[in-house]
């Protein structure tokens, strides 16, 4: 159900308009993928926002980090225990307690291991300087060099995220290159941290898949590369030199289990008593891009704009007051076990659940359409520079793009592929329907919104 005035309301605010001063980047996702939305996007999207989401994120479908935490805390306690058992004196017991408390505090503060130094790229053929397949001497030469390297290090690519599991196995069998997938559930910032900490080792990540904020803050760590399908990628979805290129994206959505909750007709419906203890957000919006955009969505639905996220925060405060907000982190497991019957998340992540649970439906609220794309980049310090470039070629080939689509994500070349007839039409038809003009925050807007969130969010939710 779409309120008649809603449409205009969200096209209107200045925040959703292109910032003419900057370099305009992308066409509206409506334009890009726009099968159902109006073709002429009055809104040009600039990407410096947080649109991001995260790759993976422990905050998102996160699992991995927990093991570490458990190990840390378990270690803490056992150390404390040992001390207390053997010691008769309470003073030493206390010292131990404080020592462990401090140690834990410090572990929490993350003492990064010192980076080793070496020059990984130097040992290879100069592939680190290739900016296209031609520079490598053609596709065949690139493939040959990549095969010689034999391995590709990827990071923060969960197998059930945008179909990465299949993408990785297809790449492996197609080229005979082993893909080393580190920390599949890590967040975008973790990718950059890993690149910094492991720089010079052969374990350092070769390629990144990042949320917008993290990607645009770290362009100095990327190597420019233009894939052979470069011309069919819309101009606003790539850096002009090829430092980064958007790979796939989607819209903020509400996923819900029809067996447990009634279908919401809009964002505001979530305040109804039927949703008591049922509304979950994918992560903490002060940490995860997906959740951040979720708050942007609720803000738009409640009279806010790209410049004003406060109504979204207030909405969650109301949800909390009504007892509807479920402060638990939704994962595939919580969705399948019914603990999180309604989840605010990217449509492609929610859509992935529909494949597992027949009663899981996804709706993209037309009164609050928020879009976001991921950023793909090659690491400047890639230990396998040729394989990293081949990975890009693969991701942006029709095959790679259709694989993203198979995971419910909207590939960046969807428009061109639809025109050329190479798109997987069945998978394309399954994407949740979209109507209205999408809002995407500019860098300034997202920085401001993040600032407001970091001050107000814990107040609203505790």
């Amino acid at each position: 159900m779409v309120l008649p005035d809603v449409h205009q309301k969200f096209v209107g605010p200045g925040g959703t308009r292109p910032d003419q001063g900057g370099h305009p980047r992308r066409p509206g996702p409506g334009e890009l993928t726009g099968r159902r939305g109006p073709r002429s996007c009055s809104v040009r999207l600039r990407g410096r926002a947080i649109l991001s989401t995260v790759t993976g994120g422990a905050t998102l479908r996160g699992r991995g980090r927990d093991h570490v935490q458990r190990a840390r805390e378990g270690g803490d306690r056992s150390r404390t225990m040992r001390t207390t058992r053997t010691s008769r004196r309470f003073t030493s017991r206390i010292t131990a307690a404080v020592a462990t408390a401090t140690a834990i505090t410090l572990l929490g503060a993350g003492c990064a291991p010192p980076a080793k130094t070496a020059d990984p790229a130097a040992s290879t053929s100069g592939a680190a300087t290739w900016t296209s397949a031609q520079a490598a001497g053609g596709m065949d030469a690139l493939v040959a060099e990549a095969k010689k390297e034999g391995t590709l290090n990827v990071i923060a690519l969960p197998p059930d995220w945008a179909n990465y599991g299949t993408i990785i196995s297809t790449f492996e069998s197609k080229y005979g290159i082993k893909v080393d997938s580190a920390q599949p559930d890590a967040a975008s910032q973790d990718e950059i941290n890993a690149a910094d900490q492991q720089k010079g080792t052969d374990r350092a990540p070769d390629v990144f898949d990042l949320g917008q904020a993290v990607a645009l803050a770290n362009t100095a760590k990327f190597a420019p590369y233009q894939v052979s399908t470069w011309d069919t990628i819309p101009t606003n979805f790539k850096d002009s030199s090829g430092l980064w290129v958007n790979d796939y994206g989607g819209y903020m959505s509400i996923g819900y289990d029809t067996a447990k909750v009634p279908a919401p007709s809009g964002v505001k419906d979530l305040l109804k008593p039927e949703y008591k203890g049922k509304v979950a957000l994918n992560g903490d919006p002060t940490q995860a891009g997906a959740a951040f955009n979720g708050v942007v969505m609720t803000s738009l639905a409640n009279g806010g704009s790209a410049d004003d996220i406060q109504p979204g925060i207030d909405f969650f405060a109301d949800l909390k007051k009504a007892g509807n907000f479920l402060p638990t982190d939704p994962t595939s497991a919580t969705i399948e076990s019914g603990q999180t019957p309604l989840v605010i998340d990217w449509d492609y992540l929610n859509a992935a659940e529909s494949a597992k649970i027949s009663t899981w439906k996804v709706t993209v609220p037309s009164d609050a359409l928020v879009g976001g794309y991921y950023f793909q980049a090659v690491s400047k310090d890639a230990p396998h520079p040729a394989a990293a470039r081949l990975w890009q070629e693969f991701l942006y080939s029709d095959e790679g793009q259709n694989l993203f689509l198979g995971g419910g994500a909207r590939p960046v070349r969807a428009d061109a592929m639809q025109k050329a007839g190479t798109i997987d039409a069945a998978a394309y038809g399954k994407l949740p329907p979209i109507s209205g003009e999408p809002t995407i925050l500019t860098t300034d807007q997202s920085t401001k919104a993040a600032d407001v969130l970091s001050k107000e969010w814990s107040k609203a939710t505790s």
Binding site: D66, R85, A99, S454
Partner: protein, 285 residues
Amino acid sequence: MARTRLARLRPALGVVPFGVYLLIFLVVPTVTVVIGAFAEDGRPSLANLAGLVEPSVLTALLNSVLVSAVTALIGGVVGALVAYAVVTGKPDGALRRLVTSVCGVLAQFGGVTLAFAFIATLGISGVVSTWLDANLGTGLTSSVWLFGLKGLVLVYAYFQIPLMVIVFLPALDGVRVQWREAASNLGATTWQYWRLVGLPLLTPAFLGSLLLLFANSFAAYATAAALVSQGSPIIPLWIRSALTSEVVLGRQNFAYALALEMIVIVAVVMAGYSLLVRRTARWVR
């Protein structure tokens, strides 16, 4: 001369591993935290410390102290009573062996596993909540209390109580039967014995255990991280947020400032403890 000095040093050799351990795991990290807290972009700065007085951070600090103090008190009182009950039994009886071994296991049972155990039991689709809702109409399956501070208190108490039992048993063992007998011989009532002999003797041990419990839950992270995923209500979760956020970037040093704050709090509590002990322990000496 040199020889005697060497000889005098020899016993100290045994402490060296402990010294090295302290250096690596206490001194170096503390120094790192302090330096990190006072720096930003490699330059000295007070910006991170200034961030500590933001209302949301202060609330988190208050919550952290509150949760730790409440769970320490609950754990301390309940644990001490259980320990006393155990001590009054046979020294190597079945009850004592059972309780100590169970407590040994439960005190270690923390972190993500524990959080999930509670979610599976009392969470939205937990076994107990579902049963209670069906039979008593409690409404637990649509209540989110477990994922907030109340939930933290309950879950922390789960490992605090057994920890207290283990820690406090030796102290209770130290109270000799002969003292009780001596007091009785001199005509003391039970109440007088406890007021004038038992409690003063046990107070330093009790306070020490409380402090241990306080530090234990003040620094606990994984349990809270698995349970609470919104709003960072306590300081350890704020540290996570400052380190891993992909929304608010570049706040690593703020995490150091938060860590420093935690160290200071524990130091203050420790100082208070040692003052208290000095007073209460006078009688013992």
